[in-house]
């Protein structure tokens, strides 16, 4: 790059990390592929730079290039400087001396980073030894300090445990302890909180913040999650197809994105704080993220851009990064107009094929409890799994994954079930369809008892309720063509006739795929397209109820919005009822009418989404809500977070009484003895808590 480097808060003084014109090339099936191109970044001491992008944008390759840990066959160009030390020209031996001391990284999966046969304390001690602490006693003391610093209770005890004995959140905190053992100048966090539950993520982010305040570490915070970045970073760089498309201070960038891609990402996000009109259409960016190296000519974003001037200049010339006021760098031919406010960079929120038009078509209000009988009624549902332990895999009792759940769902209504991993929400979804056999309780679908149904009856009921799974990669048979996949339910139910092919085509069109998809195979489609195929399959037999098990979790942000819009359209036009299982509260708030919050197999709070999310009465809902990052930096900074201490209780041995009491700040003796019933306790919606009330963060 020949232009000026990014100028911003990070530009003053000597940066802790300076990347100039970094390029990375890896060999591909048809010649070398440029996965990182012309990337320039600066991070000042004590600053956090958020590096945002979707899968395949080159974020991780950038991080690995800085660490000098690129795959052997990769080629690198450009300058990388760590506080005056050139890393790109350093020898491997020099790098070994720098890594772990002045430069450290935390990866996404912490299980792979920790050695399974070594006690965690010893592993942290090894990281300290690298820094030159030679006395064993000094090391042991430092290990305890570090574990304490990252928020591990009783460090002396946990230091003697092995990695598999720690929860995912604790392991990630140990990985952070190892990374900061020698107080590095620069810490790279590569999706370090992505695999964690939101309450644990809040803990880990809190740890990073405290460490930074203490040691003035520069943090390169890599994430796909704009919400997390909004709260964690002072500056943000957005990557697309291996290039930086926008780089600027977090507040300005979020408030007025200058690059159409940034604007698109922000418009695509559902929000938990109700800052978006109810049931508004999300701004889906059309198309698929361009993979680095396969970017089209000109601006890599132009095929998906709402404001591209085609062909010239957007489809012909690469836009160079240029200053666009308020310390911002934008690589867009139309940045000047956008910065001046004469051009709105946001994506059109117009209609999609298969739907009518924007905004969302009005839909008949779901019938309330006093109307007709609910489509789905669940009463006292209990589903357990045997637990085997020890070398001989002896049954050692049963886990109650679903421990007595009541819920109901009316025709045309959308009910969201939220909770963290292991709370039993997916088991609940599967139990409703009898994909797992419940132990006790009743499930009524359209008045028919699902649990009592025989083979034939069950098959008939399964035409009325269908399921869409999280990972379209796993939920489509790789050896069947799309046409065969969508037709299969019709064949199973003996409804395949002369109109079959036309019906399949119609279904594909409904989910926004064109007929050319018929003869394709899942591996030829993108993630979003695959999920649309899965939805078409679920719709084939004309169900009344769709169970959606994390339907957008595996998708990139820009693609996720399109699928959420599709779900909303389908619900409006077909009058479907949804049982939406999600860990993402914002998705539920956006898509659902009502929500049920689950904790360890039980529903702790339920009601209309607005009420539950705006006025939560259960401490767990309050903690959950406060932990969800909101993609709005000033709002995010102003929020008071409830940090839950310790780890979630084991479902094998749930606490007596209220299951949340071990992490609850309101718990008293009564909570330990008496199970709170789910009932309206004056808050307007049912809560299972002995001490409901407004949360500490208001």
């Amino acid at each position: 790059m020949s232009g000026p480097g990014p100028v911003g808060p990070g530009a003053g003084g000597a940066p802790a990390l300076r990347i100039e014109s970094l390029g990375v090339t890896v060999p591909g099936p048809v010649g070398p592929v440029r996965v990182v191109e012309d990337v320039s970044l600066r991070v000042a001491p004590g600053e956090t730079l958020g590096l945002v992008g979707e899968s395949g944008s080159g974020k991780t390759m950038t991080a690995l290039a800085v660490m000098g840990l690129l795959p052997r066959e990769a080629r690198r160009v450009g300058t990388i400087e760590l506080g005056g030390t050139r890393l790109d020209t350093a020898t491997e031996r020099d790098l070994e001396r720098i890594r772990g001391r002045r430069l450290a990284i935390v990866f996404q999966g912490s299980l792979g980073v920790l050695n399974p046969v070594m006690r965690v304390g010893d592993q942290v001690a090894e990281a300290i030894r690298v820094g030159g602490v030679t006395s064993a006693a000094a090391r042991a003391a430092r290990v305890r300090d570090l574990l304490d610093l990252v928020g591990i209770p009783d460090p002396a005890r946990w230091a003697h445990r092995y990695p598999h004995e720690l929860s995912g959140g604790m392991r990630q905190r140990v990985a952070i302890a190892m990374a900061i053992a020698n107080e590095p100048d620069v810490l790279i966090a590569d999706e370090a909180t992505t695999a964690l539950d939101v309450t644990v993520q809040a803990q880990v982010l809190d740890v990073l913040r405290r460490i930074q305040a203490r040691t003035a570490t520069a943090i390169l915070f890599i994430s796909h999650d704009l919400g997390v970045v909004a709260g964690a970073a002072q500056r943000v760089a957005v990557m697309y197809a291996g290039r930086i498309v926008e780089d600027g201070p977090v507040d300005e960038l979020f408030a007025a994105p200058h690059h159409p891609y940034t604007a698109g990402l922000l418009a695509a996000l559902p929000r938990l704080d109700g800052q978006r009109p109810v049931r508004a259409r999300l701004g889906a960016i059309p198309g698929q993220p361009a993979r680095a190296g396969q970017a089209p000519a000109g601006c890599p974003f132009h095929p998906r851009c709402a404001v591209a001037k085609i062909p010239d200049p957007c489809a012909t010339r690469r836009p160079e990064p240029a200053m666009a006021g308020d310390g911002r760098l934008v690589a867009c031919h139309r940045a000047v107009e956008i910065a001046a406010g004469t051009l709105d960079p946001g994506p059109e929120t117009g209609g999609e094929p298969g739907s009518m038009a924007a905004p969302l078509p009005a839909r008949s209000a779901p019938r309330g409890p006093d109307g007709e009988a609910p489509l789905l009624t669940v009463e006292g549902l209990v589903t357990t799994f045997p637990v085997r332990t020890g070398r001989r895999r002896r049954p050692a009792g049963r886990i109650e994954a679903v421990a007595g759940v009541d819920l109901h769902l009316h025709r045309g209504e959308a009910l969201g079930v939220v909770g963290e991993s292991g709370c039993g929400k997916s088991t609940l979804a599967r139990s409703v369809l009898r994909l797992v056999e419940p132990d006790r309780g009743r499930v009524l679908l359209g008045g028919r008892d699902v649990r009592a149904a025989g083979r034939v009856e069950l098959r008939r009921l399964r035409q009325r309720a269908q399921i869409v799974f999280q990972d379209p990669d796993a939920s489509l048979n790789p050896r069947m063509s799309v046409g065969t996949i969508v037709a299969e339910p019709l064949r199973i139910h003996g409804r395949w006739d002369r109109d079959g092919p036309a019906r399949v085509r119609d279904l594909l069109q409904r989910v926004g795929l064109d007929a050319s998809a018929l003869h394709r195979y899942p591996h030829e489609l993108s993630g979003g397209q695959r999920q649309r195929v899965a939805i078409a399959r679920a719709l084939a037999v004309g169900p009344d109820l769709l169970v959606l098990d994390e339907p957008v979790t595996a998708l990139d942000t820009s693609v996720q919005a399109g699928v959420l819009n599709l779900l909303a359209d389908l619900q409006a036009t077909l009058g479907l009822a949804y049982l939406l299982i999600a860990h993402d509260l914002a998705v539920v708030r956006h898509t659902c009418d009502r929500v049920a919050v689950m904790f360890l197999g039980r529903i702790v709070e339920t009601g209309p989404v607005g009420e539950v999310f705006d006025r939560p009465a259960h401490p767990y809902t309050q903690a959950l809500r406060s932990a969800v990052p909101i993609p709005d930096p000033p709002v995010e900074r102003a929020r008071r977070r409830i940090i839950l201490h310790g780890d979630p209780p084991s479902p094998l041995d749930p606490p007596s009484g209220c299951r949340f009491r071990t992490r609850c700040w309101r718990a008293d003796d009564r909570c330990a003895t008496e199970v709170p019933a789910l009932a309206d306790r004056g808050g307007g919606h049912p809560v299972a808590c002995h001490h409901p009330g407004p949360g500490p963060e208001g």
Partner: protein, 300 residues
């Protein structure tokens, strides 16, 4: 236009030939595996020669020429003759029919049976799995040669008996591999999706599970073929091979055994080379199939 719409296929409508089905991709990958392609060609030529033996063999396989006696390879008899004056090349081609038949039949039979057992055990789970797998273990610990010998004594040494007994001794390997694959596949969401759509167990096994295990099954089938040909020759060596006048490569090898180190050692070369070549080819083809049918392999 949204991302959901697939780009129009370049150059007109996508005819069926434009479809990159997993099978087509597999064929393309196999074609790129040089040793496998060469092996397949060699094996096909060998098999054709054996099948056409009655027409192309230079002499009737069992015509004796006691006056001629054993002669080393020459222009008249490319592989020489044995002490009865029988033309070795003609015998080799005819014997190949039987050896290859046995190999192929055992391969198909043991693979089919093993796949069925493995699929049922893996999908049904619980008691069926336990029972089937214990039976499999039982077969695995049987001393194969002893069982074969006893069975052949009891039922006679017909080709059919040999095939059935060999298949009964080889199906366990396929069954175990298929069971493991099915156990893993059963947890995949596409199987759950099929169940949610109301599919029957049979449909799930036939339509969803089996097409996804062809890779390992095909590879194991080739191994079974090679193993069958080798075991058949071992049996012949021990005197339990096919009965005269029919002959197999193993029987020919056994007949020539006494000549090691004598002037008639050339009798070993023909059948030995035939067995070696066949087994090698089959193994190479197995390698090629493994690479071609691995879903994780590159797509194009």
């Amino acid at each position: 236009m949204t991302g959901a719409v697939l780009p129009a296929s370049p150059a007109g409508a996508p005819g069926p030939e434009a479809v990159a089905s997993p099978w087509r991709l597999a064929a393309r990958r196999f074609a790129r595996h040089r040793p496998a392609v060469v092996a397949a060609v060699v094996l096909v030529l060998l098999a054709l020669a054996c099948v056409a033996a009655p027409w192309i063999a230079p002499h009737p396989p069992n015509r004796q020429d006691l006056l001629l006696g054993p002669v080393p390879p020459n222009r008249q008899h490319w592989l020489g003759t044995d002490e009865l004056g029988r033309d070795q090349l003609s015998r080799l081609l005819h014997a190949g029919r039987i050896s290859l038949q046995i190999g192929l039949a055992v391969g198909v039979l043991s693979t089919a049976f093993g796949t069925a057992v493995g699929a049922v055990a893996g999908y049904a789970g619980r008691v069926a799995d336990q029972v089937l797998m214990r039976i499999t273990d039982l077969f695995l610990v049987l001393p194969a040669i002893a069982v074969l010998a006893i069975a052949l004594k009891r039922f006679g040494r017909s080709q059919l008996v040999i095939v059935v007994v060999l298949a009964a001794l080889f199906w366990m390997y396929v069954a175990r591999v298929v069971r493991a694959e099915v156990l893993a596949l059963r947890e995949k969401e596409f199987v759950e999706a099929a169940r949610a759509a109301g599919a029957s167990g049979v449909r799930i096994v036939v339509r969803h599970l089996l097409p996804n295990v062809v890779g390992v099954v095909a590879v194991n089938a080739t191994l079974a073929v090679a193993l069958a040909i080798i075991t058949e020759s071992t049996l012949s060596f021990l005197g339990f091979g096919v009965q005269p006048p029919a002959t197999s490569w193993g029987v020919m090898l056994a007949d020539a055994e006494g000549y090691v180190g004598t002037g008639q050692a050339y009798l070993l070369y023909g059948p030995g080379a035939a067995i070696l070549l066949t087994v090698l080819c089959v193994n190479f083809i197995g390698d090629g199939l493994r690479a071609a049918l691995d879903p994780r392999a590159g797509l194009r």
